[in-house]
Symmetry: C2
Subunit: 134 residues, 2 copies
C-alpha cells in the first residue's frame, strides 16, 4: 500500500496494494493489463519480434499505442529491446524472464476466458434483451 | 478468431483469439483487465458490496467509471446485481461463479506482480537513469 516502496532497499510483497490509489504497483498492473499491454505481451510470448511484426500480430493497434506500450513494459523490466548491428539497424523486442512469467499468467487467464466465452456470449444476449438500447 | 461466434450455437474455445481485432473475446478481455475492471473484480472477491462500498475499496475510481465497469461486467456475466426489498432499496453486487474463477486468476496475477515489484522498481530506476526526461 506504500508509495514509499520505491525509496526503500527491498520492499516486501506485502507492502503493495493495487486498490490503493498511490501504490506504485497500480500503474504497473495497468501496463500489463491496460488497453494494449496484455496483447503486446501475448504477441511476444512465442518469439522475439520487430516492431512491425508486433503490429501485424495485434490487429488494430496503432504505431503510437504500440510504442507507448513497449516503452512502459521495457521500463517495468518485462520487455527487452535489442538493436542488432547492421544497416538498417534491426530492432527486436523480447520478453524478459519476469515478463515471460507474467505473460504465462496472462495466457492462462486468456485461455480460461476463451473457455468461458460461450457463457459470456449467452450472458450478453440475456442482458441486452433485458436492457434494450434506447 | 471469429466475429460470428455470437451467432453460432456453441462456439468452441478454439474459435476465439484476442489478438484478432473483431474477435468478440477482445472487448471482454478489456472488461476484466481494463483501467478499472481488474480492480472492481478484486474488490468484490471477498464479499458482495454496495456501490458506495466498492468506491471506498478502490481509491480514486469515480462514480461514472465504476458504474460503467459494473455494467460491462454484469453484461458479461461476471458480476450480479441484487436489489433487496426495502426502503431505501439496498443494491448489492457480487461475483458470479464465472466471475469468481476469473477473479481468482487475476488475484494470482496480482500476487505475482507484488512479488516482482522490487525487481520492477529497480528496472524502472535503471530505465529512468538511462532515459532521463528532457
Amino acid at each position: 500500500m506504500t508509495t514509499e516502496a520505491a525509496g526503500t532497499e527491498s520492499p516486501s510483497a506485502l507492502e503493495f496494494l493495487v486498490l490503493a490509489k498511490d501504490c506504485v504497483s497500480r500503474p504497473v498492473l495497468g501496463d500489463i493489463t491496460g488497453r494494449w499491454g496484455t496483447l503486446v505481451l501475448l504477441a511476444l510470448r512465442e518469439d522475439s519480434l520487430r516492431f512491425s511484426e508486433i503490429r501485424r500480430h495485434i490487429e488494430g493497434i496503432n504505431e503510437k499505442a504500440l510504442s507507448q506500450s513497449l516503452r512502459a513494459l521495457e521500463r517495468d523490466g518485462f520487455v527487452e529491446r535489442h538493436a542488432e548491428e547492421g544497416f538498417p539497424v534491426r530492432v527486436e523486442y523480447n520478453l524478459t524472464e519476469l515478463g515471460a512469467t507474467i505473460t504465462d499468467r496472462l495466457q492462462t487467464l486468456v485461455d480460461e476466458l476463451y473457455s468461458f466465452m460461450p457463457d459470456v456470449l449467452t450472458a450478453q444476449s440475456d442482458y441486452d434483451r433485458k436492457h434494450p438500447a434506447i
